[in-house]
Amino acid sequence: MMLPAVGFVAVMVIFPFGYALWLSLLDYKIGQTLTFVGIGNYKALLADEQFWNGLRLTFILYAGALVLQLVLGVALGLLLHRLETLKGLIRTVMVSPFMLPPVVVGMMSIVVLDPSMGVANYLLKSAGLPTSLFLASTDFVIFTVIMIDTWQWAPFVALIILGGLQSLPTRVYEAAAIDGAVGWRQFVYITLPLLGPTILTAAVLRSVDLLRFFDVIYITTQGGPGYATSTLNIYAYRKGFEFSDIGYASALMITLSTIVFGAVLVFAQLRRKVAW
């Protein structure tokens, strides 16, 4: 009974992966003759300024959003854990952002964050704060994307953390209270270590999505202004579908996939270490 599913994955996932690997060894541009270049595309990649730019942006986006979402997620999780009333309503509001289609989040961001007519800048100005070009600013756009993704996914991390907090053994807290561990000390020495596996689970789920983050970026900026949001995934897409450079785009995508799998393996190892 597993056969249809395994067959489907083989045809739609494993075979295309092998095919992409093969394409990455070719010099294959639409409308030109096809030649085998071996690791030529990968060598070209190392000399490509936009590849390093993409790698840098991928890393900034990944590290920035991950840290922000984990810190906020833990803080919000602790807050929700103490909550006694209105749980249903608050949960409903919490899940809304991450169940919205990314294209909706993108359109909403374009309208709210518009530099001249958007309500965000109007509120900033009214509060006497500096305004921002947001998605139109070459320097700030990647942080705008981090902000948008954090708005959408920090609540998800918070709900995972909340699930973890609710399953912590209360005996440990009773024992710790007797030993005088309360407040901040209790959080650092007891809650945080016990939450370790839960936090890592959230980190793996967010890592996979953040490293290959595509939709909201492409919808709001298409990788621009210039190349200011052309992360590896976006850059690979642009190479493949805007410049029809299929071999080179495939090499970029294989490189990115390797990074994602690497990150997942590292987290899997870490998770084994913090298990209790």
């Binding site: 009974m1 597993m2 249809p4 599913a5 395994v6 489907f8 994955v9 739609m12 996932v13 075979f15 295309p16 992966f17 095919y19 992409a20 394409l23 919000l76 909550l83 209105l86 409903t92 509001v93 919490m94 899940v95 809304s96 169940m99 919205l100 289609p101 294209v103 909706v104 993108g106 359109m107 909403m108 961001s109 309208v111 709210v112 001249s116 007519m117 309500v119 109007y122 708005w151 998800f156 709900l159 995972i160 699930g163 689970t201 793996v204 789920l205 996979v208 290959r212 595509f214 939709d215 492409y218 995934n233 690979a236 493949g240 579908f241 495939s250 995508m253 996939s257 994602v260 997942v264």
Partner: protein, 270 residues
């Protein structure tokens, strides 16, 4: 005293959190009812005469109704295909206590979607499927299959083994056991798997961006095109956003409690 202050501080934090999370969504919905004049007002107005002209514009002047129907066909089709593949597989995986087929599907969850696009594009062109609903249903099933499989697994694992074993002794074949005995018991899980699959297929952007044709364009891709073409004003854009946001939000309400464990691929219970 400390208790009262603490509660007050907590209330304030919760209110701020709710505003930050909900205000952009509310702004989107409110803007979709603003007239062409009201939406370009600066400073942005909160009080205005609501109008349905944006929705009218959207459904009369563009193909948005057809796009929405396409989205529905693709989401429903890929949900059914995903379930048809995933449910028997999850049952067998749970029964035989084998994990590798489940791990294999995680590969689809981890690899960047862009990786598959070029090979798929070439594959579908070769068999004449590019631009069809079928191509989108098949590719979206790559999203729905792992979701359905991992949502169903814990439910099948939770079945008492005596239940299925006694059916086996009575001479039931494995597909009969699945259909007649196991499925009715895991119905709640099946509902969650169906809803999650539908939402994720409905929301998915990248595959349809490249693989849909004029007649199979989804509402998600159509809205993305609205942004670039400039044929629509902000009000119509927000009307489109509100329409596509509606199905996932409504469906989410139905399975709230099980949502997070479903989305974490069994890593989180709750």
């Amino acid at each position: 005293m400390r208790g009262v202050l603490g509660r007050f501080a907590m209330g304030v934090q919760i209110v701020i959190l709710m505003i930050v999370l909900f205000a952009p969504i509310a702004w989107m919905i409110v803007s979709s009812f603003k007239s062409r004049v009201d939406i370009t007002q600066y400073p942005p107005q909160l009080l205005f005469t609501p109008t349905l002209e944006n929705y009218q514009q959207l459904f009369v002047r563009t193909d948005f109704l057809e796009n929405t129907l396409n989205s529905f066909y693709v989401a429903a089709g890929s949900t059914l295909l995903g379930l048809a593949l995933a449910v028997p597989a999850a049952f067998a995986i749970s029964w035989h206590r084998m994990t590798w087929p489940a791990t294999l599907t995680l590969f689809a969850r981890m690899a960047p979607g862009t990786l598959f696009l070029l090979p798929w594009f070439i594959m579908f062109s070769n068999i004449g499927l590019s631009g069809t609903h079928a191509a989108l249903i098949i590719t979206h099933a790559v999203i729905t299959l792992p979701i359905a499989l991992w949502t169903m697994l814990p439910h099948f694992d939770g079945l008492p083994r005596e239940l299925t074993e006694s059916a086996q002794i009575d001479g039931c074949r494995s597909h009969q056991i699945l259909l007649r005995i196991a499925l009715p018991v895991v119905m709640p899980g099946l509902i969650v798997a169906t809803i999650l699959s539908f939402i994720f297929s409905w929301n998915y952007f990248l595959f349809a961006l490249v693989l849909s044709g004029i007649s199979s364009k989804t509402a998600i891709v159509a809205s993305f095109n609205f942004i670039g073409e400039g044929v629509t004003n902000w009000g119509t854009l927000m009307a489109a956003a509100t329409v596509i946001a509606l199905p996932p939000i409504v469906l989410t309400f139905m399975i709230q409690r099980r949502l997070v464990s479903g989305l974490s691929f069994g890593a989180v219970k709750g």
